[in-house]
Each structure stands twice: as C-alpha cells, then as structure tokens.
C-alpha cells in the first residue's frame, strides 16, 4: 500500500503545481460573483439562480479537472519514459493503477472542498443560512461520481492511443449519461423489440452517474438525503469504480509499454 500512496502523493502534487485548478476556480468564482452582482426587479434576496449557475460551473470545472488529470497519467508516464523505472522499483502494475486512481481521486476531493466552501460562502451571503449536511452530502455524492469518472478515464487511457481522444470520448460518455442515463429504460420500453432489449441492457450496464447529481435538491432547499440511501449510492459508486479499475488493470497488465 505504501507504493500506492507514494504514487498518489505525486499525483496530488501535480494537481497543485499545474494551473488547471486555479484557472477553473478563478473562472467559477468570477462568473458567480459577476452574476451575483446582478439585481432583478430591485430584489436582493433572489438566490436560487445563483446557486444553480455556481453549481453548474463547479460540475463542469470538476469534470474537466477529473477527466484531464486521469487521462494524462499513464500516457504522460509512457511518453516521458518514467514508467520504466517506476515499474522496475518494484511497483506492480495494479499498484500503479491504484496509486494513480487514489491520487486523482484525492486531488479531486481537495478541489471539491475548495469549490463547495466557496459555494457555501456565496450562498450564505444571500440566504443567511448554512445547510452544512446538505452541502456535505452533495459534495460526497459528487466525489463518488468523480471516482467513477476517473476510473473510466483511466480505463480509456490504456485503451485509446491518444490522450485527447480519450478525454473527448470520456466527456461525451459522462455528459450523455448525466443527461439521458436515467431515461434509457423509458426509451427502451417505448421502442420494444430487440432494439428495446439492447437499450435496456445498456441502461442496466452503464454507471448511473445521474444519481449523484443532486443539484436540484440543493438549489431548491429540499433538505438532506436519507443516510441509508447515501450509503447505497456510495456502495454502488465504489463497486463500479472497482470494476472499471479492475478492467483497466486487466488491459494494462498485457499491454506492451514500448512507444
């Protein structure tokens, strides 16, 4: 496990050395503050539109951070040839995958804490309330979701040759699932026949990332989610991440590392 955490530590250091996070955070903060300064019909207490826009920007920013960070890990090690001394340490290939994943996941967690803290401050300035449990649950689910996204991007990085194509495909898949993932069964039932069965199979097979997007509950102050439900979603997310990481290891185990 030491090897895993050593690799994870390097990934975390990489996040705060690179400018991606800072740029995205400053952009999110600036846009949110700018929109927060707009007054509608001389009313200073309108807040939900601001929460919606800020959360949307946080989701976009963290998805960009997660996918780009995870997608470049293994290709960058191969291009710079640092993967050879790393694997000769001896570090097993599974340890490399696990270390990269843990590092990316923790780095995303740190970024999420900063983003949600800013979101909380921004909201509190208008709403004069701090629903800590709701924000914590939203952040936790977001983090679990990013875990699955990271595992997907890591799998893509050992399957696709180019880093850019992996990132693009991951974005399309993730955004697609977030938008239509939950409705596929309805579509399948409407289609019927073999096509419907195929869509149904896809529906049950895909990672249900849409569960983890609880923005509507946060924006409209619906209160906290049942902890058991949260636990179930966490278990599902971890199992799915584990499955994707296992798949990544299976592909990576047999992969020739020469360029």
């Amino acid at each position: 496990m030491n090897n895993v955490f050593a690799i994870a530590g390097v990934v975390i250091k990489e996040l705060y050395r690179r400018k991606d996070f800072y740029v995205l955070f400053v952009m999110t903060a600036l846009l949110s503050l700018l929109l927060g300064s707009v007054r509608f019909f001389n009313d200073d207490e309108i807040v939900r539109y601001l929460k919606e826009i800020c959360l949307l920007l946080i989701w976009i920013s963290t998805l960009v951070i997660a996918i780009t960070t995870a997608a470049r890990q293994i290709p960058a090690e191969r291009e710079s040839r640092t993967i050879f001394p790393l694997l000769a340490k001896p570090v097993g290939r599974w340890e490399l995958i696990a270390g990269k994943f843990t590092g990316c996941w923790l780095a995303c967690g740190i970024a999420l804490v900063v983003f949600y803290f800013f979101f909380g401050l921004l909201t509190a300035s208008r709403e004069h309330a701090w629903p800590g449990t709701t924000y914590y649950q939203a952040m936790w689910l977001h983090w679990i979701c990013l875990g699955m996204v990271l595992a997907l991007a890591l799998l893509g990085s050992v399957v696709f040759t180019a880093q850019s194509s992996n990132a693009t495909i991951c974005f399309i898949v993730v955004v697609g699932i977030l938008f239509v993932g939950g409705h596929l069964h309805g579509v399948a039932l409407a289609m019927g026949g073999v096509g419907g069965d195929i869509v149904s199979a896809v529906y049950y097979g895909i990672p249900h990332l849409e569960w983890y997007d609880v923005r509507d509950l946060v924006i409209h102050n619906w209160g906290r989610i049942d902890w058991l439900i949260l636990g179930g979603a966490t278990l599902y997310g971890m199992l799915y991440s584990g499955f994707l990481l296992g798949l990544t290891w299976l592909v990576f185990r047999r992969k020739a590392l020469t360029l």
Partner: protein, 283 residues
C-alpha cells in the same frame, strides 16, 4: 524601412479610426433601440432559449419538480405559473396537486432508487419565495420580447406574492413597448392600478383601451379568445361599481351579457343595477 512601414500602418489605423468612429456611433444609435446584444448574437434562435428560460421559471415555481424532455408533456401546453395566475384571476382554488404527477410509478429499481436524488413532490413556491422565478422571466423577456406570457406572469407574481406593483408596472410597460397591440398586457396593467394602486379610474381607462384592442383584433379576423373579452368587461364592471357609475355599469353589463358563458347571472345583476338606478336617491 520597417520603421517607416510601421509608422505608415499606425497612421493609417489612426486616421481610419477617426473617420469610422462617427459612422459606427450613428449605426449603433440607429439599431440599439430595437435590437439587443443578445438578439444580435443569437438571431432567431433566441426565441428557443426564451421558451427554455420561461419553462425554467415554471420549474423553479415547482422547486425543481418538473418534467424533462423524456417525460409526459404538459396537458394544455400551459405552464403551471400561468394556470395559477388564471385560477387566481377567476378567484378559484389552485389546480389539483398531482402526487407522483408526470413521473408515474417507478419503472425499475434503478428508477425507484434514483428518485431519492431529485425532487419528486409537487409543491408551489409561495409568497416571498416566488421571487426565485424572476431572473428566468427577466432573461426570457430579454431574449424574446414578443413572449407576452412572460410579462403577464412576471407582473402577477410581482404585484401579488412580492407586493412590488411599481416593478410590475415597469415590466408590463416594457412589454407594451414591444407589443403595443396586446390587450392582455393592458388588462394586467389595469389589475396593477385597480388592485395595488387603488386607482379604478386609471384601471378603467386601461381596460377600455384593452377592449378596443381586442375588438380590433376580432374585426381583423385574428380570433382573440372570448375569455379575454369577458375578463376585460369583468374589470370594467368592477371599476364602474367602485366609481358608483350606474349608467356605465348597465352598459358594460349589457356588453358582458353578450359574451359571458353565464348570461342568466349577468341578467340578474343587470336587473339589480336597473332597480338601483330607478330607486330615488336618499341624499
């Protein structure tokens, strides 16, 4: 040589800027009044975005409990904001709560479990919380000034739940500048004067104008809804009563009887008004 070329280029840019500046200002002044920056950027697609933001306001009105593109469409194509406004104008109870509503029964365990992560209860924003729909209505009106429902709903919630008649009037007047022939906007503006500003005389003038616009559209064969005419005449009758103008009241009641779905009850009111007019004045 290169320095000379750079100097000539800079001098050229400077001269052109002084020449063009006046023309650009003139062009901007000519177009600024009618076309906003958003309209210039988005073209006609802005209407699509305007509809989206209008629906967003309705979704906010339900605190996020709202059908998406995969869910069943609204029955009459009307937003619930609109239904509530119309129900309130008819002094009726609000439309029924729908329980599971458009969601129906869960299709499978994924659907059932997933329902814990988004709003699944039909509620409406009340009183001061209704302010949350305003940014989307403002944006919708900016994108499509011809979408009259935006102004009507914005004004209704501003003057009722939020008690902001001044802002409601400003919003409606902005709508009237973009839609000068709209009897709906004049009717709503009349409500602002009557209910909020307690000025039945001004309200009456607005409703008279609204009736003229409605008749003009009817004569032009545009088939404006009769319901709107009933509402305008209803407003006029109300103003007549407030001003105690019995002759005008009789005339407006006669007109209302012609279009009302319930002429018997109007006839009864006419009789009462006639009796009142015939009775000797006590003072």
């Amino acid at each position: 040589m290169i320095k000379l070329v750079l100097t000539v280029l800079f001098a050229g840019c400077f001269t052109l800027a002084t020449v063009m500046d006046g023309q650009v200002r003139e062009l901007r002044a000519r177009t600024q009044g009618s076309i906003s920056i958003l309209a210039t950027l988005l073209g006609d697609s802005r209407r699509m975005f305007a509809n989206h933001f209008y629906a967003k306001a309705d979704a906010y009105f339900h605190s996020g409990f709202y059908p998406g593109i995969f869910d069943t469409a609204q029955a009459e194509g009307k937003s619930h904001m609109e239904e509530e406004r119309e129900a309130s104008e008819r002094h009726e109870a609000d439309h029924d709560e729908e329980g599971e509503g458009f969601l129906g029964k869960p299709k499978d365990w994924i659907d059932r479990f997933g329902r814990h992560f988004y709003p699944t209860t039909h509620t409406h924003l009340e009183n001061a919380n209704q302010r949350e729909i305003l940014p989307w209505l403002r944006l919708s009106a900016n994108l499509d000034p011809q979408l009259i429902q935006t102004y009507l709903n914005g004004s209704f919630y501003l003057r009722t739940g939020l008690n902001k008649p001044r802002e409601a009037e400003e919003f409606l007047r902005e709508g009237l500048r973009a839609n000068p022939d709209s009897y709906e906007l004049l009717l709503e503006l009349g409500y602002v004067y009557d209910y909020n500003k307690n000025d039945p005389q001004a309200a009456r003038r607005l409703w008279e104008l609204a009736l003229q616009k409605w008749k003009k559209q009817d004569a032009a064969g545009l088939n404006p809804p009769v319901k709107a005419c009933v509402e305008i005449l209803d407003g006029l009758v109300r103003a007549d009563r407030q001003q105690n103008d019995l002759k005008q009241l009789l005339s407006d009641l006669e007109a209302l009887k012609m279009v009302s779905p319930n002429p018997e009850s109007i006839e009864k009111t006419i009789q009462e008004a006639r009796d009142q007019l015939a009775a000797p004045r006590k003072d």
